[in-house]
């Protein structure tokens, strides 16, 4: 959807002519009254299964806020960009959103790689940035807010719990980029601390689809369970080939990423039943806020909507945290909104309470352990209000507000 220079000139000429001819209309132009919110998620390509629910969550939250009277008396308008699972597109589209559309805030980025493309652009252009994906932790940037959970929140409790269920020998398979590599190290750390043992860690680029030798290697190593941090459409083949080799009932599997890309919807039930996943959101959470949320979602997007992912819930919460802060600040001015966000802003939503930790710009939230059965999740454990201790061990934005980097946390 990028605009060619010639088209741009045409449009610019046409619109300036229109404005010159009808000066009375200028004040009523829609763009002047709506608050523009940037949304940049992969809606096509290998990561589309992650991006589409996040985009829907943006629209859903905006419509909810608009229906309740809008923000500062104005309506929110989502400006959507699809980077097609390509990093070059992320750079270009993020700049467009910040410089041309001048959005009040940008929500988006899915992989950690894309976040690190967006983050410096948003900082340079003084545009608030929300990253609503669970990730490996360590981002320390006063302009950026991370509303997804990080390893110290979900793995610190989940890994020992899963080891109690299944045993101490773990085989890790992970996506070959910063997320998979760092999360594997966290799993290893928590396994070792609890008397466990990691037999091997195998990394796979996002386009690998052939897992035959890996499946055989895992069998030969005979772990007590497999931990998967695989990502994207191509990696779904792993779960298929795992089940095809008849290992589903033999060696159990846990994951930090399974279901975020709707894997359990794409796969058939026998291929995914019994997999344990730790995270913040599952649609089966039993509280009134979530019941209302899922009912309203079904009403908006249809009862046959594939799956409200954890990343969609985090995006929804991110939008509301931002909107509440704008209301509190009473202005869109970045510095004032930042202050409001850093005032311990919290939102009670479908996952329970989510509150921003002012020192790290990460969120404290409930963590749960879910087990998939017939494409539905039953919640096995809940660990309330887990703080982002990994990031807070290295990042203090109150003391060092100028900090701007992703710390690689020493594990």
């Amino acid at each position: 959807m990028s605009m060619k220079r010639r088209d741009f000139l045409k449009t610019a000429l046409a619109s300036s002519a229109a404005i010159a001819l009808s000066p009375g209309l200028v004040g009523n132009a829609q763009a002047a009254t709506d608050i523009l919110v940037g949304s940049i998620h992969d809606l096509s390509g290998g990561l589309d299964a992650y991006g589409k629910p996040m985009q829907d969550a943006m629209v859903f939250a905006a419509e909810e806020i608009n229906a309740a009277g809008g923000l500062l008396g104005r309506q929110i308008k989502i400006v959507t960009k699809d980077p097609q699972s390509s990093m070059q597109q992320y750079a270009q589209l993020a700049q467009e959103l910040a410089l041309r559309d001048k959005v009040a805030v940008l929500h988006g980025g899915i992989t950690s790689a894309s976040r690190e493309v967006i983050r410096p652009i948003m900082r340079k252009t003084n545009t608030l940035y929300f990253y609503n994906t669970q990730y490996e932790g360590g981002v320390c940037d006063r302009n950026t807010f991370c509303t997804g959970q990080t390893p110290a929140q979900n793995l610190a409790t989940a890994v020992p719990d899963i080891m109690r269920r299944w045993g101490k020998k773990i085989y890790i398979v992970a996506a070959d980029y910063n997320y998979g590599q760092i999360v594997s190290q966290w799993v290893k750390k928590y396994a070792l601390e609890n008397g466990g043992n990691v037999l091997s860690i195998d990394y796979f680029p996002l386009d690998v689809t052939e897992f035959g030798p890996t499946v055989q290697k895992i069998q030969a190593a005979s772990p007590d369970f497999v931990f998967s941090a695989l990502v994207g459409g191509a990696h779904v083949s792993f779960y298929r080939q795992w089940a095809a080799a008849g290992l589903k009932g033999k060696i159990p599997m846990a994951s930090s990423t399974f279901s975020h890309g709707q894997e359990h919807i794409v796969l058939n039930a026998p291929e995914s039943d019994g997999i344990l996943v730790s995270g913040n959101y599952f649609p089966s959470i039993d509280n009134p806020a979530n019941k209302a949320f899922t009912a309203a979602w079904a009403k908006r997007f249809g009862a046959d909507y594939p799956y409200i992912t954890e990343l969609a819930a985090a995006t929804y919460q991110g939008m509301h945290l931002w909107a509440k802060s704008v209301s509190k600040a009473g202005t869109l001015d970045r510095a004032k909104v930042l202050e409001a966000l850093e005032s311990g802003m919290s939102f009670d939503g479908p996952t329970g309470r989510v509150s921003i930790d002012p020192a790290t710009h990460h969120c404290t939230m409930d963590i749960r352990l879910g087990e998939v059965k017939e494409k539905k999740w039953s919640i096995r454990e809940t660990w309330p209000q887990r703080a982002p201790l990994d990031t807070s061990s290295v990042c203090d934005l109150i003391k060092n507000p100028g900090e701007n980097q992703q710390f690689v946390i020493k594990i």
């Binding site: 390509g45 195998d202 035959g212 890996t214 290697k217 030969a220 994207g232 191509a234 779904v236 089940a243």
Partner: protein, 288 residues
Amino acid sequence: MDYLIAIGLEVVSGIASLVLISIGLAVVFGMMKVINLAHGEFLMMGGYATIAASKAGINIWIAILVIAPLVVGLVGLVVERLVIRHLYGRVIDTMLATWGLSLLFIGLVTTVFGNTTSGISSPLGAVNIGPIGFSAYKFFIVAVAVAVIVTLYLLFKLSRFGLIARATMQNADMSAALGVDPARVYAATFAIGSALAGLAGGVLAPVTGVVPSIGAAFVAKAFITVIGGGSAVLVGTLSASGIFATVNQLASFATTPVIGEVALLGAAIILLRLFPRGITGRFFKGRI
């Protein structure tokens, strides 16, 4: 011991996959000296034909073994009539034209099915060899590869069509003088090559899943195999697949699938340095 058997089976199924991926290209390149850069997209369309047919309720085996080769064979026939036949003997032009076609096919399939990964589950289930579980579908892949090689051998070696086809490839003018219509032979050969690519795409779809851009992953491997194999279509493909897949799978077992791919490319470079005209440029001369 069980582990060794498992490695052996993975190697054999790897060879079979590589044979299937490259045989369609080998037929078109070996017989007609046409370099079809859209070969990967032919495989991709075979995969989509299988998945679409299977989701429409057609029996999965019919979808893989009949629908996929039929659909892609027809596409191949149309492509030959519209594009390729104007370009015989012009290697560079054919490469450009087929590369353009590959982009067109990716675009068309993306428009119809969306730029997203689709897949179906592997039929058959698992077999156990000792304590090691193994996907029974891999035996099916091996069986299809064997059947394809045997059928092609019989077709080209024993049938009248095979004789005419080989004669036309060797000297089109001479066979035309003897009453053969080379244009029809070329069209049939290209359609067969396309149908084989479609079959391979259909067979592999339940293992890898399909996405419109998956052709790129196939075409590179297919080319390396065909070039490494040299001029003999069947013997060349078999021997090159045997070497490359073994190197790939063993390296994957010893390290990771990434290193496995690197090892495959490394083996190809060494092989082409030793035999610039491919394996069959040195051994098995004059075979099919």
